[in-house]
Symmetry: C2
DNA sequence: AGAAAAGTTGACGTGCGCGTAAGCGTAACG
DNA sequence: CGTTACGCTTACGCGCACGTCAACTTTTCT
């Protein structure tokens, strides 16, 4: 709890994941905890990445998708050529997310409409008697 | 192509899925094609449901989640008690989707910001010479 | 009629995202 | 100083969402 380094358990409690999950993410090169002897210590950077991972999952991205996305967040530590490519990928991803955002809006409107219709139906049916 | 019924191949071409997928969805009670002899014929209703299934998947919902969601779209064919419950579930789902919508917006803004920063870095580095 | 095309039912295989023991090291506590 | 707790690795298992044969019936075309 040096405020800089967190043990695996502290991470689990903080983000509601299991140790297995964190080790799994490390094996997939999504996280890079440092080692104090044998034990893992997760840095602030790992915490930031984990937040992005969990968010990505909620949007339906695969871990491999997310791994690539994560690179977009330390743009600057790279060679120029690689960076150009990374930015291109990032822009594509951004477009995808915008489409998804729009589609979600449509879905919300549709479901909202269905609910309204349902409520009306219910009101009218309920006015007299429910299946008397 | 009676415009009402579609064969499995027509469905596959129309929605870019495999026969296996459609049969799988039927086995999971997400679709209910009628049978003409042995063959499946998909109705307009199946097509509407398939669209919702594919959309749900893009949002990261499981097929089981989606199966439950689909019921929300034929509200009205139910008993009153069941309908009340369905509406309640629908409202919860709607809230969840609104949260996701909001979170996606945040993510979009963040990634957008990262890209801008990256572009700046690239511009400055590119002005002189790339890693000379 | 005969062959190719399309569809059907099993049933096993596969990649992803972890769960779940098994067995071992170590460090912290009473 | 033993034991309890936490952590590590290795490895097999599992549920989901299909992919991929295999073997067979049914149309459809010529």
């Amino acid at each position: 709890m040096t405020d800089e380094m967190m043990t695996i358990r502290e991470m689990c409690d903080a983000y509601e994941v299991t140790p297995r999950t964190l080790r799994f993410y490390e094996s997939k090169e999504l996280l890079f905890p440092v080692r104090k002897g044998q034990k893992r210590l997760f840095t602030r950077r790992d915490r930031a990445r984990l937040k992005l991972i969990l968010r990505g999952k909620r949007f339906g991205f695969s871990l491999e998708d997310i791994r690539q996305l994560l690179d977009l967040y330390h743009i600057g530590d790279q060679q120029r050529t690689q960076m150009v490519r990374t930015l291109a990928v990032a822009r594509e991803r951004l477009e995808e997310m915008r489409r998804q955002h729009q589609e979600l809006e449509t879905a919300i409107e549709e479901l909202s409409q269905q609910i309204s219709t349902g409520e009306e139906t219910l009101a009218k049916a309920g006015a007299s008697q429910p299946k008397a």
